[in-house]
């Protein structure tokens, strides 16, 4: 008789390290690289760094936001091109800019449940090598012609072709249900919360300053592998200042209230990242020291379509739920990583947590979450400086935060990432 399986208690999932390629502004040095090329480079760099060649991992989970239909199995195809054991399973996820962090959560959860011992979470995006499709009219006409059973039916279907059908369909950074770009959405929220231009430019300058200093002190030496001759994030402007940023013209919003510029918004970026997660036992067997533990995570979504809430406000809702579940306050963190989709996103998020009315009415809290120590925010720079290859941002943040917590000799970090579709992914790391 088979022995009765014992229920297993969840175990801790460790972040062992990460690897990314330098992020590069779109249509720059990675213009000819595909998502698969870049993700392969990021994963293979991780494999090399941690001696994983020939290793069969529990799984590799990654995704891309802008994806060609031929890349339906992007992550598995990537694994087959790396030095991992080709018998390592893989799957794709897609949660807009939350993809990378969600992938890490998925891997960590399987580790916690004992379903796998080790895995890689990653993400990649190319805004340069973007998928371009045939127009919807041409597609429908071709499908109708394909369904036709007689030459006459086929001729009739094809007779429906119009010159306009031959204009290709290019991916747009628009919310399908509102027709507004993410920047336009953010501009509405920023105006609603009265986020001023100077504060945004200050945050952007700090991002560049912090990222530049992290590069200078060698922080990224074991987090980044050069790719195609690029050794450092190309969007980084170490000499960026509030004065210089203040000269830029607003690109989102209208009139007096237009505060968002190319300098305090993230640029379109190409890049890839990967993070190695494992159980404590697996790490010990492989003589690897955990940088941090992925303790818990929460996702939230807001109803932004008819203006009930701002598009990028979901993390504001996710964090108090995560704090409550873990018995923590917003001030119980040593480091905060709030993804800088726009400087205004970060500032609005912080304002909302400080606002008693909002916290009571929207978040159902007796008291506001309160302010954070800004010196602990995005201490190694974030997306405004590094750039934001959508699905790759989560992996960049997880690896950098885990390493910084380790460097600090321990501590707790909060990650907050907003995503298209009114979603937000947040997580807690501890070291």
């Amino acid at each position: 008789m088979a022995s009765q399986p014992r229920p297993r208690a969840p175990r801790r999932a460790a972040v062992l390290g990460g690897n990314r390629i330098p992020f590069a502004r779109a249509n720059g040095p990675y213009a000819k690289a595909s998502n698969q090329d870049m993700l392969t480079a990021a994963v293979d760099g991780l494999v090399a760094r941690f001696g994983l060649a020939g290793e069969r991992l529990g799984e590799v989970v990654a995704g891309a936001v802008l994806k060609h239909s031929r890349d339906f199995n992007l992550t598995r195809e990537t694994v087959l091109g790396t030095r991992l054991d080709p018998r390592t399973p893989a799957y794709d996820v897609q949660q807009a800019c939350g993809t990378g962090l969600e992938a890490a959560i998925l891997v960590a959860n399987k580790i916690a449940l004992g379903q796998i011992d080790a895995g890689i979470a990653g993400g990649v995006d190319s805004a340069s090598d973007a998928p371009i499709a045939v127009s919807e009219g041409l597609r429908q006409t071709m499908l109708a012609a394909n369904r036709a059973k007689t030459p006459a039916q086929r001729a009739k279907a094809l007779a429906g072709l119009r010159p306009g059908h031959f204009v290709p369909s290019v991916p747009e950074n628009l919310e399908p249900r509102t027709g507004l770009s993410m920047g336009e959405h953010m501009a509405l929220t920023a105006a609603q919360w009265g986020v001023i231009r100077e504060a945004q430019d200050e945050l952007a300058a700090a991002s560049h300053r912090n990222l530049a200093s992290a590069w200078d002190r060698g922080f990224f030496d074991d987090l980044v592998t050069p790719y195609l001759g690029v050794t450092k994030d190309t969007n980084l402007r170490p000499d960026s200042t509030v004065e210089k940023l203040s000269t830029l013209k607003p690109v989102f919003g209208r009139g007096e209230g237009a505060t968002m510029t190319a300098g305090n918004s993230t640029p379109l970026t190409d890049g890839a990242s990967a993070v190695l997660l494992a159980s404590e036992e697996w790490a010990a067997e492989h003589r690897l020291t955990p940088l941090a533990w992925l303790v818990d995570a929460e996702t939230a979504a807001v109803d932004y379509v008819h203006g009930d809430e701002g598009l990028l406000m979901a993390p504001v809702y996710a964090v108090p739920r995560l704090l409550a579940r873990n018995g923590l306050t917003l001030q119980d963190f040593d480091l905060y990583e709030i993804h800088e989709a726009f400087a205004a996103t970060v500032l609005t998020t912080l304002k909302a947590w400080e606002d008693p009315d909002f916290c009571r009415e929207r978040l159902g809290l007796d008291a506001p979450l309160g302010a954070i120590d800004r010196a602990r925010l995005n201490v190694n720079g974030s997306s405004l400086a590094a750039g934001h290859p959508f699905a790759a941002t989560g992996g960049r943040i997880v690896a950098s935060l885990a390493k910084q917590l380790k460097d600090n000799g321990g501590g707790r970090g909060l990650i907050s990432i907003c995503a298209a579709g009114g979603q937000g992914v947040v997580a807690i790391l501890e070291a």
Binding site: K32, A33, Q36, T40, A41, D44, G81, P226, L228, G229
Partner: protein, 285 residues
């Protein structure tokens, strides 16, 4: 005395073909003492990207094993089109190729190439010669290629043969990647390699050279095989050999079957029934 042909940029292959087409090759029993040299070669990322797309390599920070051959090929042609070279430029058949990679080559490395011919010798079906290409980085030899070309002519049945290794390890390998090579495959590879040899370009251009259809470049399907083996090969410290057998007529569907040993791979490129052997590829390290 050695004649050194120095190039600042890659020699224009179209010009070499245009002039070389008329030259028939001398009857000389010796090779002219010529070296073609090109220093300060920087990899053009756009050209590399075009090459890896066609051959299905990933675009990575390291160069495909075959890429220096692509850079050396115009220099080979410069040597072979030199006055007094005993083989004709057109119609020479690539029979074997061997590449040794001593360290990974980065897209950022500056390469210096030297190409010369050696070892003119009889072949069962004519005469053959080795074109040796060496790539150096700051004086250090990093990559070496030996391309053996055959000029069909008076046969030498007694000539020493360079047979491929035995294919016994492949006996039980049931499957492998299948490639459907379109009629325009030769033109696609010509566009990224510069090798517009008419036998690869179109059936009409191939016929005067005795081929009923255009045939794929050997270095194309060899490169695709290496790309398919991909991470199964070490990054450096390996020698890769290919024996080109029956040409791949275009269009055509071919299959690659491979056997893997601890420090060797052995592959056979063949038609779908396995009756026609197009190439045998062995990598050792």
């Amino acid at each position: 005395m050695t004649t050194t042909l120095s190039f600042d940029t890659a020699p224009d292959l179209r010009r070499i073909y245009a002039t070389g087409a008329l030259r028939r090759g001398s009857d000389s029993e010796t090779l002219p003492d010529v070296r073609a040299v090109r220093d300060g070669i920087r990899v053009d990322l756009d050209a590399l990207a075009a090459y890896v797309r066609v051959c299905r390599f990933p675009l990575s920070s390291t160069l495909p094993l075959t890429y220096p051959h692509l850079l050396a090929f115009p220099l080979q042609m410069a040597v072979m089109s030199h006055e007094g070279f005993p083989l004709p430029l057109l119609g020479a058949v690539h029979v074997t190729n061997a590449i040794t990679l001593l360290r990974p080559l980065l897209v950022t490395d500056e390469l210096a190439l030297t190409v010369w011919a050696q070892d003119l010798r009889p072949h069962r079906r004519g005469r053959q010669v080795d074109l040796v290409s060496e790539a150096r980085i700051e004086g250090e030899l990093v990559w070496r290629g030996v391309s053996t070309y055959l000029s069909r002519g008076a046969g030498h049945p007694e000539a020493q043969v360079s047979d491929p290794p035995g294919l016994e390890p492949l006996a039980d390998v049931p499957a492998g990647p299948v490639w459907r090579l379109a009629e325009g495959t030769g033109r696609s590879y010509a566009a990224v390699s510069g090798d517009w040899n008419p036998i690869h370009v179109h059936a009409l251009a191939a016929r005067p050279f005795g081929f009923p259809t255009a045939i794929a470049h050997g270095m194309y399907h060899y490169a695709r095989a290496l790309a398919a083996l991909g991470p199964r090969l070490p990054e450096a410290g390996l020698t890769s050999r290919v024996w080109f057998r029956k040409p791949v007529r275009l269009p055509s569907t071919v299959r690659l079957r491979s056997a893997f040993e601890p420090s060797r791979t052995l592959s056979r490129l063949e038609n779908l029934t396995g009756e026609v052997e197009h190439a045998v590829i062995e990598n050792t390290w």
